[in-house]
Amino acid sequence: MAALLNVRLDPEDARRVAALKRAGVKLAPIVRDAIRAEHERRLGGKLAGRKARAIMEAIYAETPDPPGLRQRSYDVRDARSARRAIRRKIRATRA
């Protein structure tokens, strides 16, 4: 069964609601959209963040490094070192 939400309105908001109803506007979808938007604004980022962390933990747990895997000898940000590594690999492949 769907939950019902009761909201107290001051006279000004009550007048606005009455005017919207007279104009044929359905209020329930507006309230639902507002609730969803606020939920996303306040909690959406936290949920996405938690999910992202959980995804990465699962990936690491399911794909562990094999024993003896050598660590990269250069910094990926260092383009010159990376190029030297590429050249080494090409030479090794050709040899």
Partner: protein, 138 residues
């Protein structure tokens, strides 16, 4: 819209990478937005992630975070623009991936580049000379 550079991708897929902690710290903050990656960045990432286990992680990261292709319809035009960009910055010895990210950033203004490469702050600019918006502080 987050456009991924090689550095965060490699960092996420290699827990021993010096930037792994930074990438894991930044990922949750960025994960609400849509991720995009281009072929040159994937090519670089596959070189740095040489072991099958590391590449499997990369495949899972791409799939789990629904990372979309930043491919464009007029790819040849993109290549020519990248060549122009490389020529403009030739004294700084840029890579093809750097040029592709800079040109894509100029074409899709909503892209913010996720990188740990400081040259995106200090040196690289869009083809029109404007700064490349970044997804995180470097």
């Amino acid at each position: 819209m987050i456009l991924l550079d090689t550095t965060p991708l490699v960092a996420l897929c290699d827990p021993r990478d010096t930037l792994n902690r930074s990438a894991l710290r930044d990922l949750p903050k960025l994960a609400r937005q849509r991720f995009f990656v281009c072929a040159p960045v994937l090519t670089e990432a596959c070189f740095h992630l040489a072991h099958p286990v590391q590449r499997e992680r990369l495949r899972r990261v791409l799939a789990s975070f629904s990372i979309a292709s930043a491919a464009v319809d007029d790819e040849v035009r993109l290549w020519l623009d990248v060549f122009d960009w490389l020529e403009k910055y030739r004294e700084h010895d840029p890579d093809w991936a750097d040029g592709t990210l800079a040109v894509l950033s100029g074409r899709e203004r909503r892209f913010r580049v996720w990188t740990y490469d400081r040259e995106f702050v200090t040196t690289w600019r869009r083809p029109d000379g404007s700064r490349i918006p970044l997804a995180t502080r470097i």
